[in-house]
């Protein structure tokens, strides 16, 4: 017999919000631990392969001249891009006082932190001698050797580590009032854990006064940071003289792509989470609809960038550039390029339909294709451009080895494992902000859509 569908409470109170979020944080069952065990196994396999790579060298990967940057760097840029929507939703939309962000920003912010933490692993994995990674940072040494600050790779080390630190700070600071709320009802080890994480927060007017200023300024600082980080990441490529990389539009093009992939990943995570954890009272079609609109907008910007890039190549008539682009469209990686166009440009056009924006299954499918498309975009740019460089005799074909494939799979498992653990042990929905905007939540539940308009 089908289980009875519980009616949605269209008039939630503060207490209902607390109950709903505390319910998610209840001790998880066996199925959850089976999922964590599955992810941990994949992570362990990836770790074992990385260990083998450290021992035997980069020869175990598919990296060969001229393609020395491929799947690892694709993963790095992909995960940094995924991180971007978190800061967009938590910081930029906070500055604009966007009403729909309250229910989804914590999940996006959590995703940001774990995505940057995953991204940060890839430059290390990609290093042949990982134990020398600290050479990127300036420190006094007897050889008077210092990093070259004119190198985009050094900019990247500073940008990504700053991004990791600031997004972790932003997340931890934002968690304080919610964790204090959880502390007040928790028992046992959780009480101790939440007491430590809440730093003794009691929500006095003085605490809120300083909290709000701190949070506003952190949001203000995180906003230019998010733009700068992906611009810096794009300069890793744009500063090189390689056809297909050396482009002045890379910074805005990469930032738009990062937001596209990030928001798609937010929805890829939120849609199953909404169903599995029964969050329909908090994450309504209104939230899904607005996130889908961001995907649509950024997809159009990315499509425009692809067209501009092609136009500039055609207009410039640089023979190396033209050949690189011909190979990109019709060469060995051509099918990947067209799959990318399908995922990033064509399929998201379906989001012009309000019905699709509000339907979870079509939306979920679109977000999966956007994720695939955005991963392929980076792969096609990095590996595709390197395989067809200035000297045709050097041209090659890159094929990832099992090491790269399993480390990539392991990175997804690592990310999902951390995100899942967070979901069950810390408030994945901000209770304080949801309560603050409770009238909009109620309206979205009543109207089902477009609060204040209908």
């Amino acid at each position: 017999m089908a289980a009875a569908i519980e009616p949605i409470n269209t008039n939630p109170t503060y207490a209902d919000i607390d109950r709903g979020v505390h319910r998610i944080m209840a001790p998880p069952g066996l199925l959850f631990w089976a999922w964590i065990g599955f992810c941990a196994t994949l992570v362990a396999i990836a770790a074992a392969l990385w260990t083998r790579q450290i021992y035997e060298g980069l020869g175990v990967t598919g990296l060969r001249q001229p393609t020395m940057w491929a799947v690892y760097i694709t993963n790095f840029v992909f995960w940094v891009g995924i991180a971007h929507s978190g800061t967009l939703i938590s910081a930029i939309l906070y500055l604009f006082r966007t009403r729909w962000r309250t229910a989804v920003y914590r999940a996006a912010e959590t995703m940001t932190l774990f995505a940057v933490a995953t991204a940060g692993l890839f430059p290390l994995i990609h290093l042949g001698r990982v134990w020398n990674a600290y050479w990127l940072l300036p420190y006094p040494n007897e050889r008077y050797l210092q990093p070259n600050f004119r190198s985009p790779l050094v900019w990247d080390a500073f940008a990504v580590s700053t991004y990791l630190t600031i997004s972790a700070t932003f997340l931890v600071m934002g968690l304080i009032p919610d964790v204090a709320n959880a502390r007040d009802v928790a028992k046992g080890w959780r009480k101790i854990f939440y007491s430590i994480l809440s730093f003794g927060w009691r929500g006095t007017d003085e605490q809120w006064r300083h909290f709000q200023m701190m949070y506003l300024l952190l949001a203000g600082l995180a906003t230019p940071l998010v733009i700068s980080v992906h611009s810096v990441v794009s300069w890793d490529f744009a500063m090189a003289q390689l056809p297909g990389w050396h482009s002045t539009i890379f910074a805005p093009y990469f930032v738009a792509g990062a937001i596209l992939s990030g928001v798609a990943m937010v929805l890829t995570l939120l849609i199953p989470m909404r169903r599995l954890l029964n969050l329909k009272e908090f994450i309504t079609p209104w939230h899904l609809d607005n996130l889908a609109k961001v995907i649509l907008l950024t997809s159009l910007v990315v499509s425009y960038s692809y067209i501009t890039e092609t136009f500039m190549t055609w207009y410039g008539q640089d023979q190396y550039e033209v050949v690189t682009f011909q190979m990109r469209y019709f060469g060995p990686y051509g099918p990947l390029f067209w799959l990318m166009v399908w995922g990033n440009c064509v399929l998201p056009l379906a989001l012009f339909s309000p019905r699709i924006r509000r339907s979870t299954i079509p939306l979920f499918i679109i977000t999966i294709f956007v994720n695939i498309g955005m991963w392929l975009e980076r792969f096609v740019i990095f590996a595709g451009s390197l395989t067809t460089n200035f000297i045709p005799s050097q041209w090659g074909f890159y094929r990832p080895s099992i090491t790269e494939i399993m480390i990539t799979v392991g990175s997804f498992a690592w990310f999902l494992m951390l995100f899942s653990l967070f979901t069950r042990y810390l408030p994945i929905i901000s209770m304080t902000e949801l309560k603050e905007g409770i009238r909009w939540l109620r309206q979205s539940l009543r109207d089902d859509y477009y609060p204040g308009i209908r």
């Binding site: 004119r150 700053t162 730093f199 007017d205 003085e206 909290f211």
Partner: protein
């Protein structure tokens, strides 16, 4: 002289709490408010001005830029090698490092100054706090002489307090020990 007590008013709605704050302020009574949400209305009514956290963020940001200059220019002088005919001190790429360090230092200063001014970590209980004030109720705690309690209680009831508790701070001190 009568004994000092603590009156703790509980409010179901933000608006009622704002009214009570206005009434207490008009009568020159000192108070502490507890809120489950970051309420702009409440902070406006309390009127304690802008937090000094912003000054620390500015100082942190400036310190970040200066550190960026020191790191890039300093190490370029130390490793004094001309690359690609460019000046040893090449400002445009160095600005990126300065910018990132400005954000890093500014952000960390925001967090550190918040802890400093909000007196966190707070290990001792704050007088008047109830678990409900972190969940679904607003609270106002007033430390007063027993003789004044009736007047303050009346002000809070008039504003819409659903409950007013009398607490003896001495009892709590003994309990804490």
């Amino acid at each position: 002289m009568s004994a000092e007590i603590e009156l703790v008013g509980t409010f179901a709605e933000e608006e009622e709490c704002v009214h009570a704050v206005d009434a207490l302020k008009r009568n020159g009574i000192a108070f502490r408010v507890f809120s489950p949400i970051p309420s702009e209305h409440l902070l406006h009514a309390i009127g304690r001005g802008l937090s000094p956290v912003r000054a620390f963020v500015l100082i942190g940001g400036i310190a970040g830029v200066l550190t960026g200059i020191a790191v890039t220019v300093g190490t370029s002088w130390e490793w004094n090698l001309v690359v690609g005919g460019k000046p040893v001190v090449s400002w445009p790429p160095f600005i990126i490092i300065m910018f990132e360090l400005m954000i890093l230092f500014g952000g960390l200063s925001a967090a550190a100054s918040f802890f400093l001014f909000a007196h966190l970590p707070q290990l001792d209980p704050i007088p008047g706090y109830s678990e409900r004030f972190g969940a679904d109720r607003f609270g106002i705690a007033v430390a007063c002489e027993e003789a004044d309690s009736a007047k303050i209680e009346a002000l809070m009831r008039e504003a819409g307090a659903e409950e007013i508790a009398h607490e003896d701070p001495r009892a709590r001190t003994l309990e804490a020990h």
